[in-house]
Homo-oligomer: 362 residues x 2
DNA sequence: TTGAAAGCGTTACCAA
DNA sequence: TTGGTAACGCTTTCAA
């Protein structure tokens, strides 16, 4: 059924060793034999069995990619970056979506290790307490690269943005625009959320601004359902005696939810409350109020992670972990764009047309 | 380095055959041996080498998934559906993104076949002329399922929506709302585009409406850059002596581009031009004018495709191709929602507030 | 330049 | 119920 090397060899009266060498472009083969073998390979439509090759060679030419949710455009972009980098090198991507479940993630990683992937790229949902999977990966001498999320206390290759800088960049921007009551809708229990919070607090401190404790609202759960949580968090902020004039949201999904809450309350963005998210998700520049955000160059994160992994897979193991930080980029759109001088002076009726005009000029 | 079955067997003084049976849950093993073996497996952290198993068993427990672009939410949703269905069955997904390139797609499929995947799910970019890859897949006796896009003349398992119905549903809706000059921004050279066009034409015919030939504008290229093309196509429509009062766009991305063009021209959606797309992409309900669309239940498409594939992989080959159609769902939002009676009677200034109010009521 | 043969880690058949 | 052993298709070493 399947054409094997043996079949090609038999048809030509040469040995399988010869065919094997031709297939892999091994040098010591006469041009004539090479050509004859190649023509038979074409004729029989022979394809080497990569399972056999993996077993024999001890390398599978596969890379495992574990993400919390492939639906989140951020992770899809990472997947794209990884694929585009490694496919030309003859590797395939085995994708595992952990659905934000640590247990599933561990199962996924184990299954990929069993598959003998040559390396792993992981956007992890695991906490420090669950991180022994990574030590098990190390034991196997399988290189891996963490992307987006880090695990405190784990020395590992990492590619992502500096999330403290993300938080600082966003908050700084809101301050520059004259906002003085800046709240933060915080993300779930992952490193990115902590560091963005740290950046937010740092920026406030630099400007000697202090906020009431209730201005930091915790989004209880994962990235995926962040929209609902953003909405709920925003509702809580709106109920405060003195409501914020700007909100830095953990990510764009949270900002989306927050903006729903703001509009529902009959308030205006950014005239009443300015908003900024993180991720630069596609098409959010076409929202009713285009959303300001921080771009993380996610395709590039995937690309760089794959590049780093390729290097680690090729070289002998043992080099110290590398951390690569991609600079975040502030993208200012209407949701945080109204200059502070205008604030308060605008009549309600003026706001929407202005936004529409702003959009048109683009 | 790697723990092998042999190591487990040696440590316990049993044979590898026994260990193998325990690992796979083979019945004739005494409870006592089973337990002892299992405890050693845990202790040594043994994981079966799936490359070896694949080679020996002739089945890899991997499914190949080929999509034109994982960034497109539609395909990411399919990937999610597939993964969620097959992971619990012990399969892994090998993902290949063809970047809308037929050549790359063929390479990708070949690499997956070489990897001995047990089955393939493909959203193809190939035309009938290039379809012999699929016959080669058949020769290998590897089952495959096409999703979203069909190839004319190729008898194959298929899961998707009935795109003619999609086109009819969208067009019918625009007609119902009182639109009489309904244009269509057509998709690229793929089955879905043809069939949506067919549905559009059918619906118009049923209502005895005829449109000028220029009302059908061809988007030259792939799904991915459909936003630019939608914009260009819309510009052409706007330049016509009698411009349309509604546009059925091949997909949401094209509609996004079209709406950019409409707003730039200083026109209003839907007061001047109503718009509807296809795909129900996430978050487009939060656009300045929320976008009407047709939902394709894409996660379900992935799920059903995987289910069908599992059946085909388990049963002996030879059954006739199955085609599964998921019913499309019309989702009416503001971009096509203004009742026809209001049309023309509204002053420009009234439109935006109305839309905002509409959004708030949600 | 070519080929024979060992062996990668597993499974499955058959014998004990 | 257990174990010996021959494959699975390929790579690689070493000899011819």
């Amino acid at each position: 059924m399947q054409v094997r090397m043996k079949d090609v060899a038999k048809k030509l009266g040469v040995s399988v060793a010869t065919v094997s060498k031709v297939v892999r472009g091994h040098p010591d083969i006469s041009p004539k034999t090479k050509e004859r073998v190649q023509s038979i390979i074409k004729e029989l439509n022979y394809r080497p069995n990569l399972a056999a090759r993996s077993l024999r060679a001890g390398r599978s030419q596969m890379v495992g990619l574990v993400v919390p949710d492939i639906l989140h455009s951020f992770f899809a972009e990472i997947a794209k970056g990884v694929g585009n980098r490694i496919h030309p090198k003859g590797y395939n991507v085995v994708l595992f979506s952990s659905e934000e479940s640590p247990e599933l993630e561990i199962e996924g990683i184990e299954s990929l290790l069993a598959r003998q992937v040559d390396g792993l790229i992981v956007a992890t949902t695991l906490t420090e307490a669950q991180s022994d999977v990574f030590r098990r990966i190390d034991e196997q001498n399988t290189p891996y690269v963490l992307v987006d999320r880090k695990i405190p206390g784990l020395q590992a290759n990492y590619v992502g943005v500096d999330d403290e800088e993300v938080g600082a960049l966003a908050t700084e921007h809101l301050v520059q625009r004259g906002n003085r009551r800046i709240a933060h809708i915080q993300g779930p229990e992952i490193s990115t959320a902590y560091e963005r919070l740290k950046g937010y607090l740092g920026a406030l401190a630099r400007h000697r601004l202090t906020m009431p404790a209730e201005y930091i609202v915790k989004v209880g759960s994962s990235d995926v359902i962040a929209e609902d949580h953003g909405l709920q968090a925003m509702c809580r902020l709106l109920a405060l005696p003195e409501r914020p004039d700007a909100v830095f949201c953990f990510n764009d999904l949270a900002a989306l939810g927050a903006s729903r809450a703001i509009l529902k309350a009959g308030l205006r963005i950014p005239a009443d409350i300015a908003l900024i998210g993180v991720a630069n998700m596609p098409h959010l520049d076409m929202l009713g109020v285009p959303l300001s955000t921080i771009d993380q160059s996610s395709v590039q994160i995937g690309d760089r992670a794959a590049k780093l992994l390729l290097r680690r897979m090729e070289s002998a193991s043992g080099s110290r972990p590398t951390r690569i930080y991609i600079p975040p980029k502030l993208i200012v759109r209407a949701s945080s764009a109204i200059p502070p001088s205008t604030r308060g002076e605008m009549k309600k009726a003026e706001v929407l047309p202005q936004l529409v005009a702003m959009e048109r000029r683009k």
